[in-house]
């Protein structure tokens, strides 16, 4: 069927009625023009609905088309047979039967009897009247009449079917049947012209609509538009205005804007409307009287005044067409006095045609479960009907464009339907606008008909806000700057972001109000006015090749303190490996909190992520500082929710005064070439190494974060952390590896390190210096900013486990059969205060010795450590002090000073020579004619006529706490007083709050009395105490007066406490213990324990095979429940040693 064929053509059609008025008994005839020059055409097989209020002339028009009446003026041509279903069911003669009426009615339609005969059965069947067809019509119900009437009309086979309102009469099922029949007729290419008030029916049955009003045709177009328009404007109310162009129809109806396109109403129901509160008064769309004007084509200006005692508002609502299917909606509220406005809400109710919603792009589908979606000026809110047919889609885009405050929006799906309601809450961080005079909100609305258009629209939107260079492009959006490389997004979420923490609250740039401008083809400037901080950051982003230069200037309006400041990028979580100039590592799994990646080297001026294998993503390098800045790198793993990798420049905290500042300069480089990134890393690592290494001969010392490394001919001598400092502060133990290291090379042979522990009021300085080619001097300092007590300060040196032999000043041994206690195998030293700890060269490692040059008492230990993969040897020097609980004052204190001497192939003897001279040992002596007593750093040695009776630890004490033994040789000793036959000393134990007071004096020439008092200066638990004397193994007999006697075994095992070697164990004071020997020069020794408490017992035993001595011991075991009070002597012990030649 040719669409150009017309069923009906009306040209300037006029129709008049002459009405008789009887007024005041006078008869006046008046002409009423029912139609006033109507023009329209109806194409063949079109379906059209004539809408209009009563008296609008629609029935007249129908009658004209039906040929029932003739117009007075103009032309009307109707092509084809017309069947009019006017006032269906009324044309029947009540006395005739249904069947007779069918004949009558049909013939009145112009059908011949034969034609009626042919159709009668169908008509009767369709009418569903049954037997009633042969009953007079007067017995019919109205519905039956209508059915019969309709049945006749539709079966007449007209070319043009005219239907009026009466279709509404039948019951629902018949109505459905009618509609189905009409649909059938439509398919048979019949022209359908209907008149109705039922907008729903009109929408269902017709394609096109005409609105008649007062005899004029005021609108002609797609039925949905027409129906919407009719629905909104019926009744000619005030405050209604509309315009349309092409497909688009826009109606403003008293504060509500309704939009429809083509056959679809997009924004229906309450349309787009807004409400707000002013001075406790709620202003809603209908709370005032709107005045509308259509001064310009395609624009509506609506004005309203809200006035009462305190309020004087003028509102303007302007709807303009800005282009093809594009509208702008602006609200401007002006106040003549300063008032506060609250809860400005903009509501948009969408038609259920729009099935899905997206924010900004099609990748970002609106999630129904996320009730709250942040929206910003410039955000695109996209709705789509998601039809299968590409060209019949319906896409509706809202873009808030101008606003001086924040927008928070949420989309909601209506509970009872599939449609969306968009609510935008416009507020200032949840607060409201105080003292405003003018308030403007504006948004653009764009309507598209297919996805292709949407793509090009989005592309265009992007282009307007993006820059590109080489493979890299920067795409900006409101509060978002993303970086793309070859169209793949490298960034995540807001991309570039700056954050400041002030008053323990974080503020982010993406919550600021953004003003983005494309400065040139390769540069973007962003002005960010921050929320909650009195600052404006001006960003300038310039793209050259694949390098993005990022500068930030800061305008400060009020003084504020920036506790923490970050400038960074959020990268996609497809990146797995982070890197800095000197390190790299894997990102951990996301957790519920943000995680800082610990960097050993804080000096790195660039951080990045490595291009993941099998992806197109480039490596990213973020250069975090310019020449003058003090920024440090910070790599973070975002939380599960954000799941991004974050590269940041951490700016030092600072208090800003009002003014302008240069805030940050940095750049971001995208590198696709994997080789290039390797080169970068190698270069930086080598350069750094160079900056942190001093060397001489084949020896070199390299410092890394947490690690001081000594190498010989590139073979590492040290292990793990190399040199370590360990101490405890307020009961917590710290070590060097936990500190932030600052490393600086001073000259060719000096390196200074600064170690800072987070939260501690002190730091350490380490100074390394090469003294000649094989000697390194190490000095370690504490630098304190307040007086504190630092305990258990030790220095550790970890060495390669390739070393096999150790030596000290007094002893030497090997690591061949270590006795392990867990992971540690401590070397049993007889002299644990050696100031020299060394290892003999092994394989291609040089000999190494540590010479302590520190003039304070030390305790030295050698251990072999067994770690999972790496065994090592550890030298440890523990600082011990005769003054417990000593606080260090402020300032710088040397706490260790030593030399590391290295000699290839040398033995210990030659090392001793090359080491610096050691300080003299403290020794005190007490003499009688026959006995000679020497106090030697925690052990008492007894000589008889120059022959030493004691051996190994000699006379010593030991305590056991938590199953660990501590002996007096470890303590720091000082001499309290001395006279000719009297010596008093005090020893302070390391790691225990124990102080022992030792008194020696000779009762006579052959009898030494020892008094020992212990006291604790803190509450502490002591499990056992021992007072021992070790005698030379030349003694071989023992005897306890009147009780027991025996012979010492000549063999020693590697343990003290094996029962079989225990010779005797008994209560004290039950007699003197006599130890004697066959040697003529050795006197028999008598030991007794006068004035000793009850619960002691004595033990006589052999020592282990290191000490190789006979041990006489007084032991006491505490129940463990006893708590030792501080500062009282908790124990007292007395022993007498006398000799009998």
């Amino acid at each position: 069927m040719n669409m150009l064929e017309r069923s009906v053509i009306a040209r300037d059609l006029w129709s008049r009625y002459r009405i008789k008025f009887i007024e005041n008994k006078k008869i006046v005839w008046e002409d009423i023009w029912a139609l006033k020059g109507i023009n329209f055409e109806i194409a063949k097989s079109d379906t059209i609905c004539i809408l209009g209020e009563n008296g609008s002339g629609k029935t007249t028009l129908l009658k004209l088309i039906a040929g029932l009446i003739k117009g007075e003026k103009g032309e009307l041509s109707v092509n084809g047979s017309v069947s009019a279903l006017l006032e269906i069911g009324t044309g029947f003669h009540p006395d005739l039967t249904g069947r007779e009426n069918v004949y009558l009615n049909s013939s009145l339609f112009g059908l011949s009897t034969e034609e009626i005969d042919r159709r009668i059965d169908k008509i009767i069947e369709f009418s569903d009247l049954g037997r009633f067809i042969n009953a007079p019509v007067k017995s019919y119900s109205q519905g039956m009449s209508v059915r019969l009437g309709f049945s006749i009309a539709v079966h007449l086979g007209p070319d043009i079917l005219l239907i009026d309102d009466s279709l509404a009469v039948g019951d629902a099922s018949f109505q459905k049947k009618c509609i189905k029949k009409i649909e059938e007729l439509k398919e048979l290419n019949k022209t359908l012209i209907m008149v109705t008030h039922d907008v729903g029916l009109a929408k269902m049955l017709s394609r096109r609509g005409i609105i008649l009003r007062g005899g004029n045709l005021i609108k002609d177009g797609a039925i949905n538009n027409i129906a919407t328009f009719y629905g909104q404007t019926v009744g000619f109310k005030k405050g209604i205005a509309s315009f349309s162009s092409n497909d688009l129809l826009c109606i403003f109806n008293n504060g509500r804007m309704v939009i429809s396109v083509g056959e679809s109403t997009i924004i229906g129901a309450d349309g787009i409307n807004y409400s707000f509160n002013v001075l406790e008064k709620e202003v809603r769309p209908d709370s005032g009287t709107w005045e509308t004007s259509n001064i310009i084509n395609n624009a509506i200006h609506a004005t309203r005044y809200i006035r009462d005692k305190n309020i004087d508002l003028q509102e303007k609502c302007i709807i303009e067409q800005k282009g093809d299917n594009m509208l702008s909606f602006t609200v401007n509220v002006q106040s003549n006095n300063n008032v506060t406005i609250k809860n400005f809400n903009l509501n948009v109710s969408f038609s259920e045609l729009l099935k899905s919603a997206y924010i900004n792009n099609l990748g970002n589908r609106f999630n129904e479960s996320s009730y709250y979606t942040k929206l910003d000026t410039g955000n695109l809110i996209i709705f789509s009907s998601e039809t299968e047919e590409i060209d019949n889609d319906l896409i509706f885009i809202i873009k808030p464009v101008k606003f001086n405050n924040k927008i928070r929006g949420y989309l909601q799906k209506r509970k009872d339907a599939y449609s969306y309601v968009l609510t935008m809450v416009i507020s200032d961080d949840g607060k409201f606008f105080r003292d405003f005079n003018e308030f403007i909100f504006s948004m653009d609305i764009k309507i598209l008909r297919n996805k292709k258009d949407l793509f090009s629209y989005l592309l265009n939107e992007q282009k307007e806000k993006s820059i590109q260079s080489a493979d890299c492009s920067i795409v900006t959006d409101e509060s978002k700057i993303s970086i793309k490389y070859k169209e793949i997004e490298v960034t995540n979420l807001s991309g570039l972001i700056a954050s400041i923490s002030s008053n323990s609250k974080w503020h982010d740039s993406n919550h600021a109000i953004w003003d983005i401008n494309k400065v040139s083809s390769d540069a973007i400037s962003v002005r960010t006015e921050w929320e909650g901080l009195p600052i404006i950051q001006n960003w300038r982003i310039k793209l050259t090749e694949n390098i993005l230069k990022w500068d930030i200037n800061l305008e400060v309006k009020e003084r504020f303190e920036a506790k923490e400041q970050k400038v960074g990028i959020l990268l996609t979580d497809r990146y797995q490996t982070w890197l800095s100039s000197y390190e790299e590592g894997e990102f951990p799994k996301f957790s519920t909190v943000w995680q800082d990646i610990k960097l050993r080297n804080k000096a790195s001026d660039s951080i990045g992520t490595r291009s993941p294998d099998g992806t197109q993503l480039p490596s990213v390098l973020f250069y975090i500082k310019d020449a003058n800045s003090d920024n440090s790198p910070l790599i973070q793993n975002a939380d599960e929710l954000s799941s991004s990798r974050s590269l940041n420049a951490k700016l030092p905290s600072r208090t800003y005064e009002p003014g302008a500042y240069h805030y940050f300069s940095g750049s971001i480089e995208l590198i696709e070439d994997k080789k290039k990134i390797e080169e970068y890393l190698t270069y930086h690592r080598n350069r750094l190494k160079e900056l942190r290494t001093i060397s001489d001969g084949g020896y070199s010392l390299a410092i890394e974060e947490g690690r001081a490394k000594i190498t010989f001919n590139d073979i590492e001598i040290t292990k793990s952390s190399g040199l370590n400092s360990r101490f405890s502060y307020l009961g917590v133990e710290y070590e060097a590896a936990q500190a932030d290291w600052g490393i600086e090379k001073l000259g060719d042979n000096r390196i200074v390190c600064q170690l800072v522990w987070y939260g501690l009021p002190f730091l350490q300085h380490w100074v390394f210096e090469f003294l000649g080619k094989d000697k390194i001097l190490v000095e370690m300092f504490f630098k304190l900013s307040e007086e504190v007590k630092i305990e258990n300060v030790s220095t550790e040196l970890y060495l390669s486990s390739a070393y096999r032999e150790w030596f000290t000043e007094q002893e030497k041994g090997n690591f061949l059969s270590p006795e392990r206690v867990g992971d540690i195998a401590p070397v049993k030293l007889l002299y644990n205060k050696s100031r020299i700890l060394g290892v003999n060269s092994a394989s291609n490692l040089p000999s190494l010795a540590l010479f302590s040059l520190y003039d304070k008492p030390i305790l030295s230990t050698i251990c072999k450590l067994f770690k999972d993969t790496e065994d090592s040897i550890m030298f440890s020097i523990l600082d011990i002090d005769t003054e417990p609980e000593k606080k260090l004052g402020t300032g710088e204190f040397l706490f260790n000073r030593f030399e590391i001497v290295l000699q290839k192939g040398a033995e210990e003897s030659s090392i001793f020579v090359s080491g610096s001279s050691l300080g003299k040992k403290d020794q005190a002596e007490l003499k009688t004619s026959e006995f000679n007593f020497v106090f030697d750093d925690g052990r008492g040695r007894l000589f008889y006529r120059d022959t030493e009776l004691t051996k190994a630890f000699c006379i010593f004490t030991s305590v056991c706490s938590s199953k660990i033994w501590y002996d007096s040789a470890q303590a720091a000793w000082k001499q309290i007083s001395s006279s000719e036959n009297h010596l008093e000393l005090e020893g302070v134990w390391p790691r225990l709050p124990l102080i022992q007071n030792w008194k020696f004096f000779f009762e006579d020439a052959r009898s030494l009395l020892i008094e020992i008092r212990s006291r604790l200066y803190k509450e502490f638990n002591i499990e056992r105490e021992q007072f021992s004397i070790m005698l030379t193994d030349e003694y071989n007999k023992w005897e306890v007066e009147k009780q027991a006697s025996g012979i010492f075994q000549p063999n020693f095992s590697n343990s003290y406490d094996i029962i079989s070697y225990r010779m005797w164990s008994g209560k004290y004071g039950q007699g003197k213990i006599k130890i004697s020997s066959q040697q003529p020069n050795l006197p028999a020794v008598y030991i007794d324990f006068p004035l000793v408490k009850n619960d002691f017992w004595a033990v006589i035993e052999n020592s282990d095979d290191i000490s190789r001595s006979r041990v006489i011991q007084a032991q006491r075991v505490y129940s463990g429940r006893e708590i030792r009070n501080s500062d009282t002597a908790f124990d007292y012990f007395k022993m007498r040693i006398s000799a009998e030649p």
Binding site: A84, H93, E100, L108, G110, S112
Partner: protein, 255 residues
């Protein structure tokens, strides 16, 4: 107009049927009334004119009947059709049939009754004089002339009555006069000479005289009478049709 009426001939037929049916449809005797009415009328006339009023004319009842049925046909048709369009407003407003069909259908339905009546009383005339049969062939022609005349008058009345509702009332009143100036209860010869012209000027006189000549006088009507009747009917029909078609376009608006 004729063409359109022809096109909608089935509408005309059905309207005619409707008129007849509605007249007799709900009665017990149904179409019998079409026969009973003229017979009853004849019986009453006969009783009055033989026992009450003595008229000098022989077989006066048959004399009256020979003209009365023609008159009844005309007057009923005209009266009914004057209101026909107004009464059929629902049809007029709904269907685009040629409106003339409505008064014509009224005439047709009365014509049907007239013909039935004629057929009912024809045997009485034949009994009276067998030679009536010789002239019966002329009756259809006269009837057609009368119908055409009636249609012309009906078209005029039905259309003008829509504009001026007085027409119906005026015509009803006028019919009484018209009845008495038509020679039904008397013959033309009985009219005094000076009034005879008025009587002859009445078209209905022509038709009654022709019917009476054939049925009662049992003779051929005069040729001049016959031609006049034909001419009058044609002229009336044409004038009526012209007026009707002039008024037709606005009729439905006036309802």
């Amino acid at each position: 107009m004729l063409k359109k009426i022809f096109k909608y001939r089935s509408a005309l037929i059905n309207l005619t049927k409707r008129n007849i049916k509605t007249r007799y449809g709900n009665t017990i005797f149904g179409y019998m009334w079409a026969v009973l009415t003229p017979i009853a009328f004849a019986v009453i006339l006969d009783f009055i004119f033989t026992n009450v009023i003595r008229v000098g004319i022989k077989n006066f009842t048959l004399f009256v009947l020979s003209g009365l049925f023609a008159w009844n046909f005309f007057s009923n048709s005209a009266t009914e059709s004057s209101n026909a369009i107004i009464n059929s407003a629902d049809i007029v407003k709904k269907f685009s049939i040629p409106l003339a069909s409505i008064p014509i259908s009224v005439v047709f339905s009365n014509l049907f009754i007239f013909i039935v009546s004629l057929l009912v009383i024809l045997p009485f005339f034949i009994i009276k004089n067998c030679s009536v049969i010789n002239y019966v062939a002329i009756l259809p022609f006269v009837t057609i002339f009368l119908a055409a005349f009636t249609i012309g008058i009906s078209l005029f009345l039905s259309s003008t009555n829509v504009y001026f509702r007085d027409v119906h009332h005026f015509f009803s009143t006028a019919l009484t006069f018209w009845f008495w100036i038509t020679p039904i209860f008397y013959s033309t010869e009985m009219v005094p000479e000076k009034f005879r012209n008025i009587c002859l000027f009445n078209p209905m006189t022509l038709y009654t005289n022709i019917y009476r000549a054939i049925l009662f006088d049992v003779r051929l009507p005069r040729f001049s009478e016959f031609i006049s009747a034909f001419a009058v009917s044609i002229v009336t029909l044409i004038i009526g049709s012209l007026i009707f078609s002039m008024l037709e376009p606005n009729l439905s608006k006036r309802l």
